[in-house]
């Protein structure tokens, strides 16, 4: 028997079965779709868990699409899902611009769209944004650091990838707070691209200059933990306080140990559950606010036990 013929026959029959199966499914309850930029860190995992848990609680089905940080992939995933027929979209976008046309097409097809965590460049392309103002997180983090060091001295900033939404917002928040603290000066400010080992090497190098730092303020926890290791290795933890943002499990553990001074939670679970809740409301035809903001929470040694699982 010709193997090529056999192979193509198998593929065609599989495709037919898939087609029939999808036709059968679409007549009943359409599933919701959750598009996420990637699934490689604690934040995205927590967001996904929040959404799927909330969907189960509401008794609806949700399919998770992982774009693996590729904007083009996310666009194709949206188009494919819309073609198959879905009840609503929750999206954590890879790109602030790239997904806009695909979302507009979905909205035009009558599918409600909720954007979560990261804003898109054209707010009207979605029905609702659920998330945080990064600048507020930065403000809360810097304000805590400024108060802790008594309002004077050198600080250093570890930034996310320059130009990313979170990096810009959080860093703007730092500088807004610094306006009220003229005696605090920024000795170093550099990107470590969210990466622990990059932050570690960077802070090791800063410490070599002998600059008298009072605090290191990082755009995320991964980098704060790199800074923490460098400061501990240099036996300077009694002189330099370190601040992170995101409240990842390892950062919470470090706060509980009294090594990391504070981290900030962007209430990821609340963002996820609110987004899922909102898209279901929209699908039922209810009205919702175009923007639902979730508050940041400061986590120090005093309240860390409430956040440890």
């Amino acid at each position: 028997m010709n193997t090529k013929k056999l192979l193509s026959l198998t593929i065609v029959s599989l495709m037919l079965i898939a087609l029939l199966a999808s036709c059968g499914g679409s007549s009943a309850n359409k599933p919701y779709a959750f598009f996420i930029s990637h699934q490689t860190n604690a934040f995205t995992n927590e967001l996904t868990t929040a959404i799927t848990t909330k969907a189960a609680e509401l008794g609806v089905e949700v399919t998770v699409y992982d774009a693996e940080k590729d904007p083009a992939k996310q666009v194709s995933q949206i188009e494919t899902a819309v073609n198959q027929g879905i009840a609503g979209i929750v999206i954590e976008p890879v790109s602030v611009d790239g997904v806009v046309p695909a979302l507009e097409a979905a909205k035009a097809a009558g599918i409600p769209v909720v954007v979560v965590n990261q804003r898109i460049s054209k707010a009207e392309a979605a029905d609702c944004f659920v998330g945080v103002e990064n600048v507020d997180g930065g403000k809360l983090e810097m304000l805590t650091a400024a108060e802790d060091i008594g309002g004077s001295g050198n600080v250093a900033f570890l930034l996310g990838p320059l130009g990313s939404d979170a990096q810009i917002g959080r860093t703007d928040g730092y500088y807004e707070v610094l306006k009220d603290y003229p005696d605090i000066s920024v000795a170093f400010e550099q990107t470590a691209n969210w990466v622990t080992e990059e932050a570690l090497a960077l802070v090791e190098n800063w410490l070599q200059t002998g600059t008298d730092l009072k605090a290191i303020v990082a755009n995320n926890d991964g980098m704060a933990l790199g800074a923490l290791k460098a400061v501990e290795d240099a036996k300077l933890l009694d002189q330099i306080k370190i601040y992170g943002l995101d409240a990842t499990p390892d950062a919470l553990a470090a706060v509980a140990d009294g090594r990391l001074t504070a981290t900030i939670s962007q209430n990821t679970t609340v963002q996820g559950t609110t987004a899922m809740d909102t898209v279901v409301k929209l699908a039922k035809g209810e009205k919702v606010d175009p923007e639902i903001l979730v508050d940041f929470v400061l986590i120090t040694k005093d309240n860390v036990n409430d956040f440890l699982q």
Binding site: Q39, T40, N41, L162, V195, T196, A201, E204, Q208, D250
Partner: protein, 321 residues
């Protein structure tokens, strides 16, 4: 070839590597002048050695592969996988320290053997094989860790890379020096080493002269994989966690170190000490520019320029002879 000619040839060969050594000292001199109080301090020089170590270990493995005429793009992913596995078995009160150490290196070795087998027997270009395995291994690292950093490791585990010998010399540096010494011996003093050069220089001739080319290929990828496993263990110990996204683009830094050090991308040529200098140059630039508080955007441009200029000097130097 007469004895006289042979020694003349050897002198010429070592002269070729001088360009890069000179470039290294030139970069050092510039940084010492720009930052006499911070850069040139002994503690910072040790710090640079420490920061060069992980890339230096990866570059050493990469050197074997490139000299044999291949390339291994999977080492960055292997660093992540080995690190995640190491951290997973290094939680307090679970397994003895030898378990994470052995497992991480076995994982690296397994990845290397797999690469080697496919390159040797599959007749697929090494670039493609290791591009594929790079992606697969990254996936395995994410699966093994549930996509999250693995933390909460023992003090002893942290001490693998974080400890010091004689109070001042970081363990990382000792690992780097040991790997370098063993590799230098294997490459220059063993039959295997000579055959690696022979296979990279001209595979057909090597085959005709009775060398088991496939075994040599499996050998070099195994070395590269094993050293990537070791680097993963050391990185996980250094950042006190196993991170599935760690080690991204480490393969490029390793290739850069080897190439800056004069290892020929077409195979058959390269010196162990060139690779060491290459790794040091990359670390020195990063350290010096951080200390001078140069924006990371400019750092990228400076690093890239130095890679190209270093190779240009090397090629020019060889051309003149």
């Amino acid at each position: 070839m007469t004895k006289n000619n042979a020694s003349k040839q050897a002198r010429l060969n070592s002269f070729r590597e001088l360009g890069i050594v000179a470039a290294f000292f030139l970069i050092l001199a510039v940084l010492v002048i720009l930052s006499p109080n911070s850069f040139a301090r002994p503690t910072n020089l040790i710090n640079i050695l420490k920061q060069a170590s992980i890339n230096g270990i990866l570059a050493t493995g990469m050197m074997f592969v490139i000299i044999s005429g291949g390339i291994d793009l999977s080492v960055g992913s292997t660093v992540a996988l080995a690190g995640v596995i190491a951290a997973t078995y290094a939680h307090p009160g679970e397994y003895p320290l030898v378990v994470p150490i052995a497992l991480s290196m076995l994982v690296g070795l397994a990845a290397g053997i797999a690469n080697g087998l496919i390159v040797a027997f599959g007749n697929i270009p090494p670039f493609i094989v290791s591009l594929g395995s790079m992606t697969i291994i990254r996936g395995l690292a994410l699966i093994a860790s549930n996509g999250q950093p693995v933390f909460n490791v023992t003090k002893a585990f942290e001490n693998i890379a974080g400890g010091f010998v004689l109070q001042y010399i970081p363990h990382l540096v000792i690992f780097f020096l040991s790997v370098t010494a063993i590799s230098a011996f294997v490459l220059t003093r063993t039959v295997f080493g000579r055959r690696v050069y022979a296979v990279g220089g001209n595979e057909a001739t090597a085959k005709v002269s009775g060398i088991n080319v496939n075994m040599i290929k499996i050998g070099v990828y195994s070395i590269s994989g094993f050293l990537a496993g070791l680097a993963g263990l050391l990185l996980a110990s250094r950042i006190v966690s196993g991170n599935p996204t760690a080690g991204q683009s480490y393969e490029l830094d390793a290739i850069a170190a080897a190439v800056i050090g004069g290892v020929s991308m077409t195979g058959g040529a390269g010196k162990w000490y060139g690779t060491v200098i290459g790794a040091l140059i990359i670390a020195v630039i990063g350290n010096g520019l951080d200390i001078l508080n140069v924006s990371s955007h400019f750092q990228l441009i400076i690093k890239g320029t130095i890679i190209i200029v270093a190779v240009l000097l090397d090629v020019k130097g060889k051309g003149n002879q």
